[in-house]
Subunit: 261 residues, 2 copies
DNA sequence: TAGTGGTCTAGACCACGTG
DNA sequence: ACGTGGTCTAGACCACTAT
């Protein structure tokens, strides 16, 4: 909030002409403030993934702004993939459950365009104290508790991916191998429905590396075989890091798809 | 254009109530039509990269629509990186020359965050008849003339990238090794200023591969060394493919940066 | 029929950049 | 002081979905 908070804003214009608008050195548009308020509602769980949020006119009334201002706020949140608009129905909180968001966070495709759903095979899931590097990336104190998941992904029967996933223990309290094994569907969908933590964006560092003995055995390739190394940090609301993931991909018959625009 | 062309649109509302609006089975919003008209101006060279385009009010007058409609059209073109808005100055045609667009099409970064400008070393530039696969990707007839460029990129003195670049000969008439060697700056900037062809977007397939003898020698690595293979197809206006590029990246000390959102 | 998001307009004022 | 893009409002109508 700043000098023109939503609750005290005059009903006309971006500022009033009769009250000395004060050239706000830290000016922030009204719709950005509304955007922040809606984001708060998402973060606090007022509206949960998959649910509908109030209509534009309702939100406009609540925040005492015009529908157009709410509209612009929602436009940006939809562009950020936090909300999904559906004409005639309403605006919904985005979810990793029913979307075709699989491709958004696992961009490995087969050379022939066929789409095989992948199968996950859990290797282990245990709790330990965070190594220094992981703690740094997760914004934790060294030796804070973390969860380590190791798993394989099979595409069409072929073992193609080996993942090591690090999660903050405080957030993922109660995450066990059993619950992981039982859960159907994408990991991020489980995180969202079971632990109330929604992955918003991720940043990846991609390299080509030679398979070491351990990884080679897991992926059924020779030692020294070229693998795609993908180091990912995922973020939730407020750009807080909540996952560090290191993946090794076999890219024979598969490729990592990326679009530059 | 469709049933409500910009030139004959009533000045109010998305349709008239007194003329039987005709439920347009192929309805397209006005601002989309304006967007197409502006794109035509860009494609035809009416406004060249780096130049300013007419102000919103001017365009609104020209197309006989409100400023808000022009605004929404320009908003989308700016989101597509075709235009750049600068408050107080105007709206400009995007260019590969002066932007910090280097990172947009070459996403190789050093492990330590330092930013070294890269140096290009041309190996060869010759004309030949398109191999079947290249012709298919460039939407040409087999054996149509193409230009093949082979080059190395050095980061901070280290040879890090080997590129093979295929271009349609008809578009890049007069492209020679001399002109390539003389040109300073990004390749895409040259394509845009010298050949009037602007790269808008690209699609990449990324793999880890073992260096073969030829590539290994060029990149000063051992045969079999893991390299990042990047196959890119670049597109210009109208999603017409105008470049096929195959790159081999050494990713020791460097990584390919990618953001998922 | 009613409600939702989507489009379009018109007018006012603000922030920024340049004379 | 002026012109540009940027924000905000208010009201009308359209397209889509459900009841």
């Amino acid at each position: 909030m700043n000098s023109n908070p939503a609750t005290t804003n005059p009903p006309n214009g971006a500022g009033a002409t009769d009250v000395a608008p004060a050239p706000s050195p830290t000016f922030s548009p009204l719709y950005q403030q509304i955007k922040a308020l809606i984001t708060q509602g998402l973060e606090s769980g007022e509206w949960k993934p998959g649910e509908i949020i109030p209509s534009e006119v309702e939100l406009a009334a609540r925040y005492k702004v015009s529908q157009g201002t709410v509209r612009k706020a929602i436009d940006e949140l939809a562009a950020d993939n936090l909300l999904v608009r559906r004409q005639g129905k309403g605006t919904f909180v985005a979810t990793h459950n029913e979307d075709r968001v699989q491709f958004r966070f696992l961009r490995l495709l087969p050379d022939d365009g066929d789409v095989h759903p992948h199968v996950s095979r859990l290797l282990e899931c245990r709790r330990l104290r965070a190594p220094a590097e992981i703690a740094r990336q997760l914004d934790l104190k060294p030796a804070d508790p973390v969860v380590l998941i190791r798993r394989l992904l099979q595409f069409d029967g072929e073992t193609t991916v080996f993942d090591e996933i690090w999660l903050p223990g405080a957030v993922f309290r109660g995450l066990t191998a059993e619950r992981l094994a039982d859960y159907k569907g994408p990991l991020y969908a489980m995180f969202e429905t079971e632990f109330g933590t929604r992955m918003i964006r991720a940043s990846e560092k991609i390299r080509a590396v030679a398979a070491d003995a351990g990884v080679a055995e897991l992926l059924n390739v020779a030692e020294g075989f070229p693998l795609l190394s993908v180091e990912r940090v995922s973020y939730t609301y407020g750009d807080r890091p909540v996952e560090v993931r290191r993946g090794w991909y076999v890219t024979t018959g598969y490729y990592y798809q990326n679009d530059l625009s």
